[in-house]
Amino acid sequence: MIIAEWKPLPELVEKLKGHTNVLVAGCATCVAECAAGGEREVETLAPLLQMALKKEGRTITVRGRTVERQCEWEFVEELAELVPHVDAIVSIACGIGIQAVAERFPDVAVYPGVNTTALAIRQEPGIWIARCAACGDCVLGETFGLCPVARCAKSLSNGPCGGTRKEGKCEVDENIDCVWFQIYERAKARGKVDQLLKVRKPKNWSNSRHGGPKRVVREDLRP
């Protein structure tokens, strides 16, 4: 899922100071999965914003509405009936959803309530770890199912670097595993260490954001 985390409250308060009627818009898909933008979080953020703004001397009304996904126009449409009553929307969907809302409702101020950060998996309850970097040149078939782009702090193709800590943790963050350590362990378990001996050539980054803003067209799916 795409994961996001709440923006610091003072940042939101600053943006909302000039408004009176706010809609907190949630999304029941990715951001709900990472407990940042689902219905529960809408219901937590709404009273919190009210109280925080009251402390700044501003009385605002806050409505909350969660749609299935903010990255689909059909669901974004469900917000339409509320928009005439508000002068600001705080969307706690991922950046895609926030932009969809902003595009559909260009006359109202739309603010992000979250910072979208990564493509991740919920490893355990309460722990999300980035797994994919959307590099557009997937090498998972050569690294035994472990992504060195997203999970190596230096995105090494020929890791590990000399920084692997004891117990196989990453030099940059002791809480995350050195993925190249893990790749080696898996190769060893399968008796395929020789696959790691070839010097891998530089990646072609052009199929990702590095090649320019991504645009995909499928003629077979066009009306």
Binding site: G163, C178, F181
Partner: protein, 312 residues
């Protein structure tokens, strides 16, 4: 057949025990800061490493530092990390460095920019990093620029740019058993010489080098043992706990702590480490680092019996 004809290369080819030292560029634009260090260290080493924004802290560039050293009579070993520049900038800088007289280059991945915020420094932990290519690929790039006169893209350059190519080795970082294979990879990619992460346990290091020797690697590349001059027991403890791949034996820390003059003891320990390294078959030299105190190096090198440097 000489690859780049540098003093380091010649020393190694002549079968002499090589000595390189590290020079940290200043956190400022003053060339005198580099010239002063060059004056101190002239003639005591076969190559002078100039770090590349080490620990991601902004310093005078390695190319500029290296050029200043060269002008002052010290043959530089330019260092290049993969953190700050993409393949276009790296190759461009290599062409420029060659034009300015650089002939030794050490390729490393580079510390993540998070490391720059430490101690009193705010650093740049918020900077974007590059890591377009990794150190292994950079080695290959340099090899192709030298031996085939082509860039990574396959496009030719007007003439080859021969460098004596260096790489790093951290034999004790996990997964330890893979490290010798990674060394093999770097040699295959084109590494002519290796400078290791600081070694304090020469016995353990000897086992690692023996494994490399068994694979025939010590014939294909020159391994220089990295040695950091310890200043205090606290410094040793810090390195043991925090610097990946560095292991300091408990006995050494105790020895330092018990010493009357820890600085002097540190010099003594360094000399002993150098001697021990000389006795390891397959080790062709040492790479000495005296972090932020290069001025102690001449004394230590003299005590180790490594002066004068051989004529090559």
């Amino acid at each position: 057949m000489m690859k780049a004809g540098t003093r380091l290369e010649k020393t190694l080819r002549a079968g002499q025990f090589a000595l390189t030292v590290e020079v940290g560029p200043p956190r400022g634009p003053n060339p005198e800061d580099v010239r002063r260090k060059a004056q101190l260290l002239k003639g005591i080493a076969d190559g002078y490493n100039v770090t590349d924004n080490q620990t991601a802290v902004v310093r005078m560039s390695s190319i500029a530092g290296a050029r200043l050293l060269l002008e002052a009579g010290c043959e530089p070993i330019m260092q290049m990390t993969c953190r700050d520049r993409n393949r276009i900038a790296l190759q461009s800088d290599l062409l420029g460095a060659w034009a300015l007289g650089m002939r030794n280059c050490l390729c490393i991945s580079g510390d993540h920019q998070k490391a720059s915020a430490s101690g009193k420094l705010k650093g740049d932990p918020g900077a974007k990093n590059v890591f377009d290519v990794d150190s292994m690929q950079l080695i290959s790039i340099m090899k192709n620029m030298r031996d085939s006169g082509v860039l990574e893209s396959g496009d030719p350059i007007t003439q080859p740019a021969p460098f004596f190519i260096g790489a790093a080795w951290t034999p004790f970082a996990p997964p330890e058993e893979f490290r010798v294979f990674r060394l093999a990879k770097k040699i295959e990619a084109g590494a002519d010489f290796i400078q290791t992460q600081a070694v304090f346990d020469m016995k353990r290091f000897a086992t690692a080098v023996a494994a490399a020797q068994k694979m025939g690697l010590t014939e294909k590349t020159a391994i220089l043992a990295g040695i950091i001059v310890p200043k205090s027991a606290r410094m040793l403890e810090y390195m043991n706990a925090n610097v990946p791949g560095v292991e300091v034996p408990e006995s050494l820390i105790k020895r330092m702590a018990a010493a009357k003059d820890q600085r002097q003891e540190g010099y003594q320990i360094t000399v002993e480490l150098i001697q021990a390294a000389r006795n390891i078959p397959g080790v062709k030299g040492v790479h000495l680092q005296a972090i932020e105190s290069e001025e102690v190096l001449p004394e230590i090198i003299k005590s180790a019996g490594l002066l004068p440097r051989p004529q090559v």
